[in-house]
Amino acid sequence: MAPLAVSAFTAACAAGIGVDELAAALSAQRSGLRRLPDLQPAPDWAGPGAPVLTWVGEVATLADMPLPASLATWDCRPTRLAWQTLQRDGFIDAVATARTRWGAARVGLVLGTSASTIGDSEAAYRNLDADGGFPASHRNPRLNTPHALAAFVQAALALQGPAVTVSTACSSSAKAFASAQRWLHAGVVDAVVVAGVEALSASLLHGFRSLSLLSDTPCQPFDAQRRGISIGEAAAFALLQREEDEAVKGVNGSLQLLGYGEANDAHHMSAPHPQGLGAEAALDAALARAGIDGAEVDFVNLHGTASAANDAVEAALVARRYASTVHACATKGLTGHTMGAAGLLEAVICLLALQGRGRAGTAHTEAADPAFGPLFAQQLRLSPAAGMARLAASHSFGFGGNNCVLLFGTGVGTGTRGT
């Protein structure tokens, strides 16, 4: 495929609000995870019942940051998270420039989220009316539906092109890049805002608890001692445009989306394929679109959830397909597993590495599980490193066996790779 220019990006999560804070946290290996029972005041998103003993990546400032009056009908935790993130890194200005250049109708939106605004419906069920229906304050059909976040972002950015919500669990916002490339290739739009937004909710907390996947310690991806995942919340955005357009060349150090691959495991709803067939098919498709070989990739942000099954399958894939010198890292010990937002948040971590703003490590992990072998132990980097990545891959694997791999590079002088 023809590479796409990444003209602007921003992100917020427990490790940092805006990319400067995020880059600083990655370089210092400063984790945003906190012990849930210690959070004061007790978070309302967690719902009733005894506190669950786990660690979470909560963005602590949301309670005090309501939306502006003009957007107040959309007010809930995930829209606040999206709004706060949009204010960072000049993102709104970059979108305004694209809107002016192409026209608002030629700027599209693809937003990935897993649970969207479910937390608002959860709150309504805790406060039902005497008639058994939603309380008046929550009777907003546009807010209690998966597309609510995309509709909010579309309104907040004054976009008039097509808007779609992609909701494939933990691969959602990685797949947003795939849809955006197809829209640009087919000429539907001239610029696309890709987004990933996921807020903490009782569904996520108790859903993963019911699967016995929550760790009672901060998650330790790929460690022999790993005890499960730590959930987190995040919003992240990027602006994509065609690379051949002169106006977008040269901005942002010529960051490019080089390829993407999507594939299904066809195996199980909540467990990965034991040989990682779907994940490897997604990697193959991404490499084929980019016209590069796996051995050329020098930075990988792993899915690395710290669940027993995911990490075993992914470690084998990394050892099989990447060079021994690759810098592979799993950042969910810093941010928490931000579900539908993880694909875009971790794409941003790749973009920071490509800009020379630090290559992240694998927080909380003492050593790679010896069961994964010596090659993987060499590939997995526990400590952050300075220096610039040249070709970066990001892995996102979700429930329903839904896999997506993204490839990013800095396109200085490379022209069009692949076909």
């Binding site: 109708a105 805790r126 059909p141 539907v188 066809a266």
Partner: protein
């Protein structure tokens, strides 16, 4: 944008009153038909009996129409990329999930949780057919069929491959029914191909544009009876596909966009 052409190789629709395309096609043409009692749930042969019992309605109806459209197109389900679109996912599951979380969150069952993901139908389809091709699950509120069609059309165009498009929505249950207006159960599916083949029954011209539109009025009583389902924005196209006319249609594509369509029947 410039108008682009695709071909429709497979068509399916399922609702309790219209359990299959042969019956639905007649009813959407307003032709008189024998009034059979409604079928409460679809019974997709792809799933084992125990899976059928446990699967949510949304998964059942999606697999039913997906299998029917792929069979009509003569395609191999195991290699076909797919787009599953739904405004709300399975609302019975959302209601049960929220009820449990509000009262006894420790009782939430893992099966209910993984059934609550929007890509549950996509995941079950991949497992039932052994298909590892790309599969997505999307949503667009009142324009969910239109955004799903946009996703499938751009994928068929970009990758030069046939794509399965499945749309479904369920009835709001419990407290959710006070805020969510979706009623009834409806599934629709198309196989869209970039090249004409012996299986092609219609050409489909499509283009996105700026502007606003309301959903074209439905003509058949059968389609009007399904208008309260959240996948109802599929119905004008399926009425056109039930007929044999050259039909232009404009569907709303969110608050500020439209999807222009034109279906032309192809000689057998």
């Amino acid at each position: 944008m410039k108008t682009q052409r695709l071909y429709i190789d497979g068509i399916a629709l399922w609702s309790p009153a219209l359990p299959g395309w042969a019956i639905a096609r007649q009813a959407l043409r307003s032709e008189p038909a024998a009034a059979d009692p409604p079928v409460p749930r679809p019974n997709p042969a792809l799933l084992a009996a125990n899976e059928r019992r446990r699967a949510p309605d949304a998964v059942l109806v999606a697999l039913e129409v997906a299998a029917a459209a792929v069979a009509m197109a003569g395609q191999d389900a195991a290699t076909l990329p797919s787009i599953f679109t739904s405004a709300h996912g399975d609302l019975g599951i959302v209601d049960a999930l929220c009820c449990t979380l509000a009262t006894n969150p420790q009782w939430l069952s893992p099966t209910r949780f993984h059934h609550s993901v929007h890509n549950a139908a996509s995941g079950y389809w991949a497992m039932a057919t052994g298909c590892r091709a790309a599969s997505s699950a999307v949503s667009g509120f009142e324009a969910s069929f239109a955004v799903g069609l946009l996703e499938a059309a751009t994928q068929a165009r970009t990758d030069g491959t046939p794509v399965l498009l499945v749309g479904f929505d369920t009835a709001a249950r419990g407290a959710l029914a006070s805020v969510n207006r979706s009623r009834g159960l409806l599934g629709v599916a198309l196989v869209l191909a970039p090249q004409r083949s012996a299986a092609s029954v219609f050409s489909l011209d499509w283009a996105c544009a700026a502007g606003t539109a309301s959903l074209p009025p439905l003509t058949s009583a059968a389609a009007k009876a399904l208008a309260a389902n959240a996948m109802a924005d599929a119905l004008p196209l399926f009425e056109a596909l039930a007929g044999a006319e050259d039909t232009p249609l404009t569907l709303p594509l969110g608050p500020a966009g439209i999807l222009r369509l034109r279906t032309i029947p192809l000689p057998a």
